[in-house]
Amino acid sequence: MATIIVDNRTYRVDERQNLLAACLGIGLNLPYFCWHPAMGSVGACRQCAVKQFKDEHDRCGRLVMACMTPASDGTCVSIDDPEAKAFRASVIEWLMVNHPHDCPVCDEGGECHLQDMTVMTGHVYRRYRFPKRTYRNQDLGPFIRHEMNRCIQCYRCVRFYRDYAGGRDLNVFGAHDALYFGREQDGTLENEFSGNLVEVCPTGVFTDKTLFHHYTRKWDLQSAQSICPHCSLGCNTTAGERYGILRRITNRFNSRVNGYFLCDRGRFGYEYVNSDNRIKRALLRPELDRTKPGKPEGVPQILGVAADRLRRARGIVGIGSPRASLEANVALRSLVGPHRFVPGIDEREHRLLSTILSVLRTGPVPAASIQDAEESDAVLVLGEDLLNDAPRLALALLQSVRQQPMERADELKIPRWDDAAVRNAVQDRRGPLFVAGYRRTWFHDYATETYFGAPDNIARLGFAVAGTIGSSAPSVPDLTNEMRDLAQRIADALTQAKRPLIIAGTGSGSHATIEAAANVAWALHQRGKQPRLSFVLPECNSLGLALLGGESLKEAFDSISQGKADTVIVLENDLYRRAEQAKVDAFFDAAKTVIAIDSLEHRTTAHADVLLPAATYSESDGTFVNQEGRAQRFYQVFVPDGDITESWRWLRDLARAESHETDGLTGVATWRNLDDAVSDTAAAVPEFARIGEVAPSTGFRLAGQRVPRQPDRYSGRTSMLSHLTVHEPPPPHDPDTPLAFSMEGYRGPVPSPLIPQFWSPGWNSIQALNKYQDEVGGPLREEMPGIRLIEPVATKAPSWFTAIPRPFQSSPHRWLLLPLSAVFGSEELSNRSPAIAERISEPFMSLHPSDGARLNLEDKVTVELALQGTTYRLAVRLDPSMPAGTAGICLVPDVSGVRLPAWVDLSEAVKTGRKQRVA
């Protein structure tokens, strides 16, 4: 710690920080633009000038940039010095010389860092009388709007996009006072993290295009904490609503999970909530006639009919869902009984998840959070396509490769926040990152070494690494010299690292890669290292569901086909994405009654006899467990219209209707609010015991008040509904959370899950986050970052996994079809958002050029592929990174039902007669 003197007051701060971060950390207001807590300082904007004095007796002092000055012991500065103030005001005045008169029509207005800083410095009138510089804008695709006139040349966008997120297609062009931040020509920003430009840009050059289409100011958004449902990482988001429409998603800082950034799928995938395909009314199909569509009826009547059928049922099967909340799944489990509950995932996924779970439960190596991944200094990725399956983790790894070279900067005594100097010292050096997979993406350019092979070969590489590291770990006998050398290099890098990280997952569908990853981590642990493991899972609550237990979907299919049960309850699950079409059709045909609860119409809900409209994540409260095993609470943002309510409430109502009278209600039927749901969930599985500590309970009050979801500037309270009624109905009651659908309530420091959105007087932009932290970049005050449900207890590794697969052999007539997930297209919910849908690629099949030659297929031809009873039209892409003998099928919505990996004779399955060139 260092003692610094700011305006004659003494403060204790961390000496590793710069002066700007230190001042913001102690709560002082100092304007800045180019500095960003996650990206360090470059001293480009000259806005954070303060006056530094040699000691207490120095009266003269000199102006320094706070962001470029270390907060070393005894530093004596003044923020309020008249000369420093005048300097800062003149910097803003220069910036405003060319800033357009746009604020009323600018989407950044009201949460603009430039507005805040202008007000803070006191600049009011434009003295400059000459014309303003203008620029032409670019079309940057469906996510981002571009308005170059507003630019203040702080360089944050290119520093984030190129240096932090590894993007290539955004750059700065031009010279002198005519700089241009954009692409070389119009076109979609390709980087998967482009959405962060909206928050990184201190003014309105880059704004959210999805928000633009239903624009609302920040002060009019009713907001609450959400957890992103679009992948397994569980990034924290703030969802904002107005007039019953979910308006936008912004990043929500969580020091253990997503930090300052989100991926584009998470940021722009929310619009499915406003989709026309939402189920809004409870529907009942006329008695046992599957040809007729369901009709809306009164909810009590539909529940009565459903309960009657449940009572008469020979047996009930409850199919849960990895994208439904933990509470909803526990409710279903309680309604149908644990032995009748299946998690609603296919057999392969079920096996993969139980292996992952046993590795995390019984092994000595803990799971890594995204923040751990960012801090790790050697990484091995086995068979996961991170950029497409868990983009935020890929972004963390792009930072992890800087960890080891950073030590060079430390040796040179360059502080880590001095970004330009650090990059100069580091140059192109990167720490060890080994990526083994079967498809090349731009992420591989950041890897020390890459390996492309079939999943079995990737697993063999993993086993070989484990065998090289650990003396007792099983080694792979029949390795090629090339692979042995590679394994040796990986093993060396991992053993030399302080915080090695091994990543595997379910993406390739390979069991062996998971076991190999566990072996590597355990071998490192045996050597006395502190390794961490990270498994990428398919969906937002996959691990929670795996903890809950239950058999695979096959069990459900069997019990219906064998006549053990005749009634099915499907909870937020499209079974056609999880099993072959024919099997699911047969399953629904055999079932006497199908009760479906979901938010969007899909093929499964079309089979429902009773269809109940479920609330999405922004309309309900619940808990998700991310791939790390971290349970996090998401809160309802707004009250939806129609019959929509939480899935667990529907299941409770079903349970109540089913049990004849009010006497002797048990389980889910007794639930009154989320607290009951949470306490029953905590009792369901031993691992869930602490789930109540994830967030404050329903009864939590501060000064006897709830926390308002609406900002205190929320407008239109007396006219929003006045066209319907002038009587101003009271705001909806929230029985589940300590939050209120109101402007009124406690405004002050609250536990982090209850913060509606980041705002502080004078700090309207998302940079207000500084005011919620004790130390810039550190955890929030009263942070509740979620509870890790699985901590390693074993000190020794359990027995090694020994099932080392044999090398992959390509067969002359059969090809191994592998899944290629897509960041835009492979996730069920985000696919239904218009902006994401625009980015979904056409369905394609990747082949090694030699396989293309064998099958007589050229690049970019369209073929028809008969697979598992369905014919798909796919474009062929010849990709040298695909292992020979395999073919990758891109999992976009058109091919969502295929079960992969699978062995298929492509020479039979591909209809070569109908080849045609794609334009």
Partner: protein, 180 residues
């Protein structure tokens, strides 16, 4: 004794003032037959005005709504592709049964769109008739400010005004030129 005298004196004084007023001109007027003079800047009913080109002035910036102390203004922004590719209010609603005619909305308006006019006669039998939608608020003139057109000074381009064509603007920068 002194007290009683004081009472009598006050009584007589009061009666004298009443008597004097009998011969002065009354302040009240016989409304509605007779109408008072209201200065043009008197703050009564709220209208939405048009710019000199006849387009809606409102750009749906929400500043009036947030300035309103009784929160009686609700609107939604939209981009209308058929009308100049610029921002408009999709709906604009003022609940006059809540309005206190403070004029903060007019103060906040950056485009002179929302103006208060000297009309206060808004009596209705039903409260719902006090809820005005955009059609009810929009007038065909420019109101108190004749010359102002926000889009002629703003940096954004609209259909009939390209970049660099606004007042006090240079033509767009040619990024590929290195000339000083």
């Amino acid at each position: 004794m002194m007290k009683t005298w004081r009472y009598i004196r006050d009584l007589v004084l009061g009666l004298w003032i009443v008597f004097k007023r009998t011969f002065t001109k009354p302040v009240t007027v016989q409304y509605p037959e007779e109408r008072p003079y209201l200065p043009p800047r008197w703050r009564g009913r709220i209208v939405l005005t048009r710019d000199p080109d006849g387009e809606e002035r409102c750009v749906a910036c929400y500043l009036c709504a947030v300035a309103c102390p009784v929160d009686c203004i609700a609107l939604q922004a939209t981009e209308d592709p058929t009308a100049h590719e610029r921002r408009y209010p999709e709906f604009f609603r003022i609940n006059f049964s809540r309005c206190i005619y403070c004029g903060y909305c007019e103060d906040a308006c950056p485009t002179y769109a929302i103006q208060l006019v000297p009309d206060f006669e808004q009596s209705e039998y039903a409260r719902r008739n006090m809820v005005y939608e955009k059609e009810d608020l929009l007038i065909s003139g420019t109101g108190k400010y004749h010359g102002y057109n926000f889009y002629r000074v703003a940096g954004v381009n609209i259909r009939d005004k390209d970049k660099g064509q606004a007042e006090h603007e240079l033509p767009p920068v040619d990024v590929r030129s290195l000339m000083p």
